[in-house]
Amino acid sequence: MKEYRYEIEDPMGLHARPASMIFMEAGKYSCSIEACWELQKADCKSLLAIMGLGARKGDVIVFRFEGEDEEAAYYAIRSVLDKK
């Protein structure tokens, strides 16, 4: 299992555009990718789940990767998140 802690920098939180970028990247990998925030968990392969977290600027989200290609998925999601 790999983990990546990410603090949201977008002033509008995880709105449709950043959520959809995570969702599209997550769909390329077979491992499970979860975004955990407070007591909620979102499957990153569901755009609705990511948007439904309602995470805001300054919140820290923990992304958890588990499965065969977790290493590749970890770097791919990191690069999407760090792009902005």
Binding site: A16, R17, M24, L47, L48, M51, G52, G54
Partner: protein, 167 residues
């Protein structure tokens, strides 16, 4: 009983479900939306409505699964499983809720036709935003036989998308 059975199973054996127009206006293809996230169907298939009235109503019976704090977009998970996102305008997240009013909270059950949002068409357009409103089925992959009705004016609750539900 056989009659109701037949009614639900027309065309290809699956049950047809309708997604209704959440807003009054001109229904157009997603190709006409000036944003690649929508016009390349990256978020899913659907249609867009150029609104003529500043009201968004629930397009199905279901649960309001997302109400953005900025009130510019909502998602409803229909009782039949379809995930419908309604995004009012392009880049309107930047308005931070100005010009929008919400009438329901995230997590609430909604019935088709219930008022979800009101928005000020003139105010938002004056600020330079395109108010075209994509209506997207986020879990498009589950509905290979989706039919979208575009190229016509629609009133609230006119059918705009038909899905075949095989559950």
């Amino acid at each position: 009983m056989f009659e109701t059975w037949k009614k639900h199973f027309k065309r290809g054996g699956g049950k047809r479900e309708e997604i209704l127009a959440p807003v009054e206006g001109m229904a157009v293809s997603l190709n006409e939306v000036n944003d690649p996230a929508f016009n390349q169907e990256l978020l899913g298939k659907g249609i867009a409505v150029i609104p003529s009235k500043g009201r968004i109503v629930a397009p199905v019976d279901g649960v309001l699964t997302v109400m953005f704090e900025t009130k510019h977009a909502v998602s409803i998970t229909a009782d039949n499983g379809a995930e419908v996102m309604i995004h009012v305008g392009l880049d309107t997240v930047k308005l931070k809720g100005e010009g929008y009013r919400s009438f329901k909270k995230q997590g609430e059950a909604v019935r088709a036709g219930e008022l979800l949002l009101e928005f000020d068409l003139d105010e938002i357009r004056q600020k330079g935003y395109d108010l075209i409103t994509p209506v997207i089925i986020l879990n498009t992959a589950e509905y290979p036989n989706m039919e979208c009705h575009v190229g016509k004016k629609v009133k609230e609750l006119e059918p705009i998308i038909e899905l075949q539900v095989n559950k």
